[in-house]
Symmetry: C2
Subunit: 224 residues, 2 copies
DNA sequence: GGAATAGTGTCTGTAAGACACTATATG
DNA sequence: CATATAGTGTCTTACAGACACTATTCC
């Protein structure tokens, strides 16, 4: 019978200083021991409810992160991508705010390394191609959905959210249009009374995702 | 070591009499022998270059169809979807014109059964959910891409193509806008001198996909 | 009141849809 | 020339972006 290596890999993305960054970990086993790569691991048929469950488990065990926005990207396969043999990796991408990453970044035994996705070094396996596809998917979906909200943390102001969208899409957005569109998607609610920012100027209203939109994206008819 | 069952499944879609249909085959082995289901099969690590290669092989062996538009849909996995154990299926969807299906439908040993996707019966495994996702994906992508062209055959007129888009999206489209959009995508070229249709009226110009657009979709900025 | 950023009202330009007209085939 | 469908010119409507104005905070 064919022996096929079944794994999951995770593209954990966050936004730091206006740049999209991917989380890499040093591999703790051969092949490529001690080399930076995407967090990943074998599917455990006895304990994982499905591939998504395996992805959540890997994310928790290796990056100490729970319950981010998580979506299946694609499955990569073939005889050449892993030196151990014909392999298959079901890849998920996750979005988290930088605060979450920095909280766990210190605590964990495994040190998370954040790398700008536009300045990637050589990576083992086909991890560069995988990250490329994840970034394309994120940037594309950002044009017509609430996806970028998951990079913004729990509470955020509209100017902050606009800067997130602008960082992803590369270019300035019209303030009036942006706010019309966010309102049209209807996934935001005001955080009562609370205001963001300090400084010698008017503070901005804080918002958060409505509970019913925490798991499911909002979509726009015609993009931003 | 975990034994995980690795398969590919195919959602072969076509448009017949204005209705989107999925191709089903009687299974030739247990489980569910002689029951209608999606064409599928094990990945053969020795011969398949990757999962896409396995999908093309299955499509050729079981449905006798080569070189359709083929795109990965998603991977479905878990302990319950296949009675044989923890399994994983990398699902691809393919689009072909009804002419292609009907040509091979007679020749093959395996009889293809076309079923309206909106009138599906109970199916084995999680094939109903898989088909549902494929249809959603097709209908969604039809809003802003040239995807429906692959359902229209090699040569087609603009009125025919508009009827294809309308069948997928459920609703009438504005003729002027539709033609502006097709022109904007720039993936069509006139088939010289040839005209479609007969009848007591002006015949329509035939078009086909430009060679450089046969593999890659064209996209619209703002949808139809 | 000055400075700085948040938030909104309104005008303008562009793109989509409605409609009507011309074009070209058959009988 | 009647009829039926293909294909286009143009007007109207709706939406996105530009711009300017008001709002609110700290100093």
């Amino acid at each position: 019978m064919n022996q096929i290596i079944c794994t999951v890999d995770l593209v954990l993305l966050t936004l730091k200083e206006g740049a999209l960054q991917v989380a890499l970990l040093k591999r703790d086993k051969e092949p490529f021991k001690d080399v930076l790569a995407l967090p990943g691991g074998f599917i455990h048929a006895e304990e994982d409810a499905d591939a998504r469950g395996a992805a959540l488990r890997v994310l928790k065990e290796k990056a100490h992160i729970t319950a981010p926005y998580l979506e299946q990207l694609a499955t990569f396969s073939g005889p050449a991508r892993d030196p151990r043999g014909w392999s298959l990796s079901i890849v998920y991408y996750a979005l988290v705010s930088i605060d979450i990453v920095e909280q766990v970044g210190h605590s964990g035994r495994d040190q998370i390394r954040l790398v700008d996705v536009d300045k990637l070094m050589q990576l083992p396996f086909d991890h560069q191609a995988i990250i490329g596809m994840a970034v394309d998917r994120l940037r594309n979906k950002s044009q017509y959905s609430s996806l970028p909200c998951y990079l913004a943390g729990e509470n955020f102001t509209l100017p902050q959210l606009q800067r997130v969208y602008e960082a992803l899409m590369g270019g300035e957005l019209n303030k009036v249009s942006f706010r019309r569109k966010m309102s049209e998607m209807g996934m935001l609610e005001e955080v009562d009374g609370r205001f963001g920012l300090a400084g010698a100027h008017r503070p901005a209203q804080l918002y958060r995702l409505r509970p019913e939109h925490r798991e499911h994206l909002s979509l726009l008819e015609r993009g931003l």
